[in-house]
Symmetry: D2
Subunit: 109 residues, 4 copies
Amino acid sequence: MNANKEIVNALIEFRNERDWAQFHNSKDLAIALSIEANELLELFLWKNADDVNKDKLKDELADVFSFAFLIAEKFDLDVKQIILDKIKINADKYPIDKAKGTAKKYDEL
Amino acid sequence: MNANKEIVNALIEFRNERDWAQFHNSKDLAIALSIEANELLELFLWKNADDVNKDKLKDELADVFSFAFLIAEKFDLDVKQIILDKIKINADKYPIDKAKGTAKKYDEL
Amino acid sequence: MNANKEIVNALIEFRNERDWAQFHNSKDLAIALSIEANELLELFLWKNADDVNKDKLKDELADVFSFAFLIAEKFDLDVKQIILDKIKINADKYPIDKAKGTAKKYDEL
Amino acid sequence: MNANKEIVNALIEFRNERDWAQFHNSKDLAIALSIEANELLELFLWKNADDVNKDKLKDELADVFSFAFLIAEKFDLDVKQIILDKIKINADKYPIDKAKGTAKKYDEL
């Protein structure tokens, strides 16, 4: 079994033991993802760019991944595949010769 | 090579071809993650809970995962491990007999 | 003195007493705004649309407004004026005859 | 009429002309607020702390304020009052002698 299937199984088992599937519609999962991303972001608030507590970051990042995997599971998406697909799209939006060394958005290149 | 190592390698290759590592401090990666989570969330705005365009969702979810993996890579974190660790912590915060069937936060159980 | 000037004065006085201006660059204020918006959003997580604790909402909404006013102050923006300006822009993007009764985004009308 | 009452009236008029009250439950307004806060935040992504386009910032900040005022209106909250109330609460959480010159959270002071 691959790592991501193991992750999803562990998350679903945890959820089912608590009878929480009833709350996990995709809109609330997306809300939860935004909230967790902001709890992660809070670790950096008022601080220099790489000044962060790694233990807290590990915890918050795990929460972000958990909701992201639950959304992927709900829509039967393969995480590796959707990322590789998106990298191809981004390769067109950000061609190397134009995008190299600049942080501009694709519509400003 | 496991799936998540392949994902990270593809993301890092895409980044290095564009010389973008210079922008990817962990604070900005966390900002990017929040922004992408909110682009995903926007797909659900003003809509019923599971009424969403799956193609757009796939795209936005891929962006969320990409930044989450880049943060994991920066801190040398194993995604499966941090999620399994967090599930253990959550199992203590949300014991089955108290948490079953309720969406209350742990401090209200 | 108008209400919004009073608000800004109170926020700035609170900040200066604590010598916090040094942390309040506009990027971190924008981060704080997103974090507070998500603390407000968390009050609605896993719940029906209007099922929220009004006392907690009042608190979190005050935090959102506080950072929004601090950003407005930093850029010397008049809150009433920028909203009235934006309503005019939105009136063009969402003409009544096309937008009436639909939640579609302007680029889908 | 005070400035904030004028703002709310203009927002409500714009909404009613488009028959959008039906979409504006408080949960979706809170989602919209988070999305707009992140569109504002995106203006700072990959950039130095105060390097931002003021015209774009004005636009995005107006959107943030608009949804914040619509939430305040829905719960019949006076914006000045809730901010002044919150400043009092924060004055207790962040006493000057402990909080001066530090960006630590109240539970770490």
